[in-house]
Symmetry: C2
Subunit: 502 residues, 2 copies
């Protein structure tokens, strides 16, 4: 007996097929980034494209849509979870069915061409190589937005691909509040007299020992290896295949152990969320993270509110010292902790500390908005990027490789970036809520047994998967909506103290 | 411009879809054996089952069959390769379209249940636990044989799933000739006065060093890592995803380095075949090994005719001595070589040397034939197994775990085992042919540069993929059909010499 058995058989079969295809596509993405050999990549992409096209057709199938409507009309016959399953597939149906298949296929090709052009542009350090492909993708994004419809802003249906409860009005408010609070804070921190020495992280750290550290950290947060897999890659990521197969891949850099350290905790946090989703929801459409922002909130929770907590390192720093005694053996915990939390505005988002990170996201968001508003020409984007970088972070990238060409996410279209910062905002709200429910939070973080914390997150967030929306999860835990105050307070208080700001 | 562009567009699209699904299913099988975590295996199998069902429907689709027939009727408009593509898909169409989908799905379930029952039977050392499930699978196999039709023997269409050019008459002849020659030879070898000491292989050999040895051997045979991937597993295998993605997985046993050594050369041989198939054939239906027997012939060629050749070890033994000096540093090449080629009848096929291996296959084949002929009851199979083992190998398995329950391949149905021995027969025929064309074969094997040998195999076998059948490959290289003489002669001469038989 599974949840879908409560639905008419044809509907259940169609949903099962969709979910099986999704599982396979997630695996193909995992393989594309960890397994496929260089020469085989293009054929693998072709096969994946075929299956993705089939999934698109299944999700947007008219007969399927009609059956979903019938089922939705009988909502009082079903319990809440079944109604959520119907609603989730109907939402996807509405999204897919209004896009002509050929346009969908052309968009997928344009995304892949844009990604190739981005790599060429990087090789030539020339944004002009990328610009026409970027324009094509963004134009398609806007055409899709018009198919989907919107009340206030074409960006709304685009960001809602990833975060259904977000919209431009909310984003403008959230990002405005963060800028007002963080830009002056960053200026004060970078002007402070005592700047920690971070050179200890740049000393050679053998990769096999970085692997050992990664596994130490994953064990520390109770990642279940029997329901996942660890891989290596050039850009850390997580594959949420299902709650019993939550894989993660880390990056290892010989002369910067922080990359491995933060990857383990960040991707580990994503994976814990996936592993703790109620198993009954597997292959129903609800057995997955509810939104990109919420997914990110869980990785950020473990990376920042656990992994940057001093008590965590009181417990785990000895392991790091044991693994790499040459570098850390004689460094006291306090010095290590200050270095780990050093603030230094960087050109690159990937190298950003937790205080400046959000500004990197905001730069991208504001550029997206300027493009949509027609306020900037594509050829002027590099200049706009550099201006914003100087204004918000105080640094100007020396080349476009460190500036507008630094990451390739825009090849996928509009709307992905806000999730990264929203995740941090959510995580800070939950951090406040969890401290209310678990007054001994600090002691738990240092105890070596994080299960009470993971248990709280499972009870209030993880277990639901997609059967609760981001706003519902917020409402039932903090009794309100998105609020930047906890994040601003956390960052202000932590860095005022660490940098002894008056 | 690809080969399929010469076909009507709808036909080409349908074939492309089939081939993309096959590629994905091969990857899912790879992942099932190297990637999927324990707890996620069952959901992964469900998703794979869905895609396999879709592939079955695509291959057996009536409209597709009609289009293939139309295209076949216009064969003079197409070149040989295109006609082969049409014929290959038509062969598959005929196979799939006569089996009702529900029966196909039930068979897949029965296979999976039989495999689970086999594991339970092993845990209980009780064949009776497995027997009813085995019977169900074998009965389905025979029902499928009747759907497919046959002239002489129901086993013919079953073995032809794997080796289209084989039939029971040929198998009876080949296996009869091998038994006549090998059983007495085994008896003389095992009775010989000087038996080499093989204990050096059972000394602890650290797994990281076994990895190093594996890569040394794969480099020695020019495996292309950019068109493949190396993985670890509990039963060595190859995934021929396509010529640009030929993956292999080895097994590592701390106290028997031979497992890693033979795995590398055997699976490496499979992969070289795949990598050397003409890339134009990718995703047409022909870009893969032409039959299981031919596939096996290439793994056996590298494992035995290269990897058991003394000249190969004259070249590569120093590397083994460098990797594991504690064990091999003081052992002279001659002693190493005799030990590596020691003959010792074992209960288990996986542990079998090259002289006794074929008898393990023949036992299985004869039992399959006895079941089909109704000459044996399922409850008497263990006894029959032990009798044959004693008669052919001179050893009786102490438990059924070492006897009839030792491998689970029968859970898939009838017909797979003959390929293993046929591969050895083919390989010996090519070994004879290659020596005719390359009289300095021995010197090449010892030179460290095997490319002239791989070049010969590519030219005469590999490049064609499925565009030449097994019999055609034989005909164009040795000018005849399957012949056991080269294999019998190779084994007789080699072991008479090594064991100084008079």
């Amino acid at each position: 007996m599974t949840l879908l058995d409560k639905l008419p058989q044809e509907l259940a079969s169609h949903i099962t097929k969709i979910e099986h295809y999704k599982q396979i596509l997630t695996l193909l993405n995992w393989d594309a980034r960890t397994g496929v050999p260089k020469k085989g990549a293009s054929y693998a992409a072709q096969a994946k494209g075929t299956l993705a096209g089939e999934l698109f057709l299944l999700q947007g199938d008219a007969a399927f849509g009609a059956k979903l409507e019938e089922a939705a009309a009988q909502s009082d016959e079903y319990d809440d979870t079944i109604n959520r399953i119907i609603a989730e597939h109907y939402r996807a149906y509405k999204r897919k069915s209004v896009i002509p298949f050929e346009e969908h296929a052309a968009f997928v090709r344009a995304q892949s061409e844009a990604n190739a052009a981005w790599l060429e542009a990087r090789a030539a350090n020339d944004f002009a190589v990328f610009a026409p492909y970027l324009k094509k993708v963004f134009d398609s994004s806007l055409r899709f937005a018009s198919y989907w419809g919107f009340q206030e802003h074409p960006y709304d249906p685009l960001v809602q691909q990833f975060d259904p409860d977000l919209n431009t009005v909310t984003l403008n408010r959230v990002f405005g509040e963060l800028k007002d609070a963080l830009i002056p804070l960053i200026q004060r921190v970078t002007a402070a007299a005592n700047q920690p020495d971070t050179s200890l992280f740049r000393k050679p750290f053998p990769l096999s020992r970085q692997h050992e550290l990664t596994h130490e950290l994953l064990h520390a947060i109770h990642y279940d290896y029997d329901a996942g897999k660890f891989g290596e890659t050039i850009h850390p990521f997580t594959s949420a295949i299902n709650p019993l197969d939550a894989r993660l891949a880390s990056k290892f850099v010989a002369d910067d152990v922080r990359v491995a350290l933060w990857s383990a905790l960040h991707e580990g946090g994503h994976s814990l969320y996936t592993q703790n989703i109620n198993h009954e929801l597997i292959h129903t459409g609800l057995g997955i993270f509810t939104s990109f922002g919420i997914h990110e909130s869980q990785s950020i929770f473990y990376e920042k509110f656990v992994g940057r907590h001093k008590a965590f390192w009181e417990r785990h720093y000895p392991a790091l010292q044991r693994i790499q005694p040459e570098t850390f053996g004689d460094v006291p915990l306090d010095a290590f902790y200050s270095s780990l939390n050093a603030i230094k505005p960087a050109y690159n988002r990937f190298e950003a500390d937790e205080l400046t990170y959000n500004l990197h996201v905001i730069i991208r968001y504001e550029i997206e908005q300027a493009i949509i508003a027609g306020e900037v020409r594509y050829e002027d984007l590099p200049e706009l990027w550099n201006k914003k970088s100087e204004a918000y972070l105080g640094v100007v990238p020396p080349t476009h490789l460190d500036g507008i060409l630094q990451d390739g996410h825009w090849s996928a279209g509009f709307g992905l970036f806000p999730s990264y910062t929203l995740g941090f905002v959510y995580a800070a709200q939950w951090h406040e809520a969890i401290r209310r429910d678990l007054p001994n939070f600090d002691r738990i973080v240092g105890s070596g047994d994080l299960r009470p914390i993971t248990g709280w997150l499972t009870k209030h967030i993880h277990q639901y998967g997609k059967s609760r929306s981001a706003n519902e999860l917020l409402q039932q835990t903090v009794g309100g909506g998105i609020d930047t105050k906890p994040l601003i307070q956390y960052l202000t208080s932590k860095y005022s103290q660490l940098y002894q700001l008056s």
